[in-house]
């Protein structure tokens, strides 16, 4: 295992627990997504894994080294923090160049690698412009490019696509998949279900500082008892229990296609559609409490 989080817990100086019991493993060459609502403990967990924070309890192991030996671990990791603000005077090229110098690359390698990642992250055309002249999304991509270009075998990205437009998100996602394919261990946090579903080899759901469940997207979807989701618009007659009530739209889960058809026959509404359950539905059941009727 490339990364191991074992019973990780962090109590801050003000007495608040940022994480209470986080457990998961991450493999080399795979993207592990830490998924959870705001305040779930994702950033605290990344903080402990990247030696920014000292765990109050538990153990974090990176490539066989415990974070109790932070200097060794720091040789092996790179971090793109949440809401990082790169210096407004740095151009994309300078930012990557400087970061690669820090990571010990030789001068002749730096230019080549910088060019590769500037192109990958769609920053080539604006490579020499200072960040102050770039959009928020471009600034974010500078930080992502710095991390991806590094030679660290384990990469941590805390909500790397927040604030990016659709196109830019796909650019980042594609680059992340390519790095995983190259054998890097990638740990990424998000509360975006679509991002997790598209990117993740493994999803770790965290809520209230505790690991709720982990597994591949398919494994997590199979953990809920439903296969289908019926979305009803402006129901005139609805003689079944509603799982999620969104006002003029209701969501009803069905255990099989046949059950979905049976339910649909009973309903009278402006429109009815049936979809396969997604990671979001699994999340709502396991983290959001839908299964317990707390919608």
């Amino acid at each position: 295992m490339s990364v191991v989080a074992k019973n990780l817990a962090k109590k801050y100086a003000d007495g608040v627990w940022g994480a209470k019991n986080v457990n998961f493993t991450a493999e080399k060459g795979a993207i592990t997504v830490l998924l959870g609502p705001n305040g779930a403990g994702k950033t605290t967990t990344v903080g402990m894994l990247t030696t920014l924070l000292k765990p109050t309890k538990g153990e974090a192991i990176i490539e066989g080294y415990s974070t109790t030996d932070p200097w060794k671990v720091r040789e092996l990791i790179a971090l793109c923090p949440q809401d990082v603000r790169v210096d407004s005077n740095w151009s994309p090229k300078e930012a990557i160049r400087g970061y690669l110098m820090i990571r010990g690359f030789k001068k002749n390698e730096v230019e080549k690698i910088a060019e590769e990642y500037l192109k990958k992250l769609d920053l080539w055309d604006s490579r020499d412009r200072p960040a102050i002249q770039l959009s928020g999304g471009q600034k974010k991509r500078i930080a992502v490019a710095m991390i991806l270009a590094s030679n660290a075998p384990v990469l941590f990205l805390d909500e790397p696509s927040s604030g990016l437009d659709v196109e830019a998100r796909y650019v980042v996602w594609k680059s992340l998949r390519e790095e995983a394919k190259r054998g890097k261990t990638i740990i990424l946090t998000t509360h975006d279900m679509k991002e997790a579903e598209i990117l993740a080899d493994k999803v770790v759901m965290i809520n209230k500082g505790i690991t709720v469940v982990s597994g591949s997207v398919e494994e997590l979807k199979s953990k809920i008892e439903y296969e289908k989701k019926i979305v009803v618009k402006n129901a005139r007659y609805l003689p079944v229990d509603v799982n999620i009530d969104l006002g003029d739209r209701k969501v009803i889960y069905a255990k099989s296609e046949n059950e979905a058809i049976e339910i649909m026959k009973k309903i009278k509404a402006e429109s009815i559609s049936v979809e396969d359950v997604t990671l979001e539905d699994a999340y709502l059941h396991m983290v959001g409490g839908v299964a317990n009727g707390k919608d």
Partner: protein, 237 residues
């Protein structure tokens, strides 16, 4: 070395983009030299050399190195550095190197004056005070900026702190003009102690008590280490 030069490279980008700050320094050097010459003749010019080293050390620590590290912390760029092979020494030394351009350029501006006055003793004496004062300034600056929560407060605090300790205490004027009893009190200020030490070492001061400013500077180094040790952390918080 790559780590230090990488940090220095990134930290020096702002000077590359805003070189006008170096031109501003030229105006200040020339301006103060004229003022000091008009009021104090050649002795005034010699004193301005001491003052430039002292104000350079104080400004570089509190207003450049500490201020920029404070901004790095607020912008979470410091977290990127912590989660990397960079060690605190590489990081702070990288910032020192990138900021060194200011005293070096100032020295270049002053070179004409130094050669004209044959003031190499003053330069050497000032350098003796420059180094501990730079350390004090950086440590105190870091202790302050690491406590600041709002990014906009960083320069709002470090800029006045820089000016306050350069303009009011005896840096641009000799401490010997202050009555002896009050002088001991005034020389507790690190910039005043640094300036007095440099003046005494170069023979510019009429007062002969080198141990007092030297002891004050050493005490400030200890205070700086103690106060920054509490707030300056490199991860594992």
């Amino acid at each position: 070395m790559g780590k230090i030069s990488g940090v220095a490279y990134l930290a020096s980008r702002w000077i590359r983009r805003q070189p006008i700050w170096l031109v501003q320094d030229l105006f200040i050097v020339i301006g103060f030299a004229i003022i000091m010459f008009v009021w104090g003749g050649l002795q005034g010019l010699k004193n301005v050399l001491v003052a430039w080293f002292i104000s350079g050390a104080w400004g570089m620590g509190v207003n450049l190195v500490a201020q920029f590290i404070g901004w790095d912390k607020q912008g979470k760029v410091m977290d990127m550095f912590i989660a990397s092979p960079v060690r605190p020494f590489h990081y702070v030394f990288g910032y020192f190197l990138s900021s060194l351009i200011f005293p070096v350029v100032d020295l270049a501006y002053m070179l004409v004056l130094i050669i004209y006055l044959n003031a190499w003793t003053i330069v050497l004496a000032s350098l003796v005070a420059f180094l501990p004062l730079l350390l004090v300034s950086t440590l105190i600056g870091l202790a302050i900026v690491m406590r600041i929560k709002k990014p906009t407060n960083i320069s709002a605090i470090t800029n006045p702190l820089q000016m306050l300790l350069i303009i009011i205490p005896p840096v641009f004027y000799p401490a010997s003009v202050i009555p002896e009893t009050a002088r001991y009190l005034v020389l507790l200020i690190p910039t005043a102690a640094g300036a007095e030490m440099a003046r005494q070492l170069s023979g510019l001061s009429t007062w002969h008590n080198i141990w007092y400013p030297a002891a004050v500077l050493i005490a400030w180094v200890v205070i700086g280490i103690a106060s920054s040790a509490k707030t300056v952390k490199w991860g594992m918080e």
